[in-house]
Subunit: 199 residues, 2 copies
């Protein structure tokens, strides 16, 4: 059985390890890079190596950063009193794009899942609790996902802080702005209806 | 306006240059790589660098190879009398996967397109003609695409070889094996009907 040159096969294989990239797409990407200007391959390889060497987790919020403390955490104009807790570092971006959040972030690193052995200590929950107390956080926005695990993680954190003066909030669920009602899924409709607000 | 760390933005940018990878997918890929084991980034960077350094065009068929002459061209059991002409190096793979072609290949490097300045000399047509004469090719399979440009390229080559004894053929067009008739596009149906064969 014929196969492409080993270096090409290896590239296809590496691409197909990426999420949402199947064997066919991986092959198309590899052939595209190999067919064209070889500089494109070098540029991508360089960007990868740069990212590998430079990107670290901010030691304050655990988001991505190129320095010990990220630009959000070290910004003196951001409120230290409102802390937005997200699951993954990539969840910070949509908040920053909207520009609505003036406080800081905390990346939890996942959600509780006892069956998979993910306990409070596996996540950064103890670090979060300690930080809330140390820095006098006034409001904690639990911006976790809507999976059962994410919801129970938010509930768990809420319960741990039951005797703390910190206000705990979560994002509103409902109909996305600009969405047509007929395309709304059942669960979102249920939430939007249950959590309807006065006009 | 906030942006992710420069090295991460750069990676997103490089990924979004790839075909069929939009901004959102590029971002997902970059975040995926940065979030996980950093070895994954190194592996991909290495595969790219390897491919960049190793992959060359076979000096005989112009397909991808890691040596001066590719494994197909240097295989003594393959017939030198049947030559399959394809547009791109990546077009060789489906033939090899089916195992049906026992001859050699020739990568044309594109199709004629006078409006874009692609003339016979821009492609490898003179090299092809010279090779057919020199090596005593008996059959030339013109396996180019079905775009108007590809069809006129095949016609052009056929005409150049009008006085040559070499037999010129093209791939059969018709209903794909296993396809449901109701999903066949009009042009394919037209071809399949026109070029119907006796049972």
């Amino acid at each position: 059985m014929y196969s492409s040159p080993p270096a090409l096969e290896k590239l296809v294989q590496e691409f197909s390890k990426l999420p949402s990239i199947g064997r066919k797409t991986a092959r198309r990407l590899a052939f595209y890079l190999v067919s064209g200007d070889k500089k494109k391959m070098g540029d991508l390889a360089e960007a990868l190596t740069e990212a590998q060497n430079r990107i670290v987790h901010c030691s304050c919020c655990y988001g991505f950063s190129e320095s010990e403390i990220c630009q959000i955490c070290e910004n003196p104009r951001r409120s230290r009193e409102i802390l937005c807790v997200v699951e993954r570092a990539s969840d910070i971006l949509p908040f920053e794009n909207s520009g609505i959040h003036k406080g800081l972030y905390f990346v939890l690193g996942g959600v509780l899942s006892p069956l998979d052995g993910i306990k409070p200590e596996t996540l950064r929950i103890p670090i979060l609790i300690e930080r809330i107390e140390r820095e006098g956080v006034k409001e904690l926005i639990l911006a976790l996902g809507s999976s059962p695990e994410a919801e129970s993680t938010a509930l768990y954190i809420d319960r741990v802080l039951a005797n703390s003066p910190v206000r705990r909030t979560k994002l509103a669920r409902g109909i996305p702005v600009g969405s047509d009602l007929e395309f709304i899924d059942d669960v979102t409709m249920l939430r939007a209806f249950e959590e309807r607000v006065g006009i």
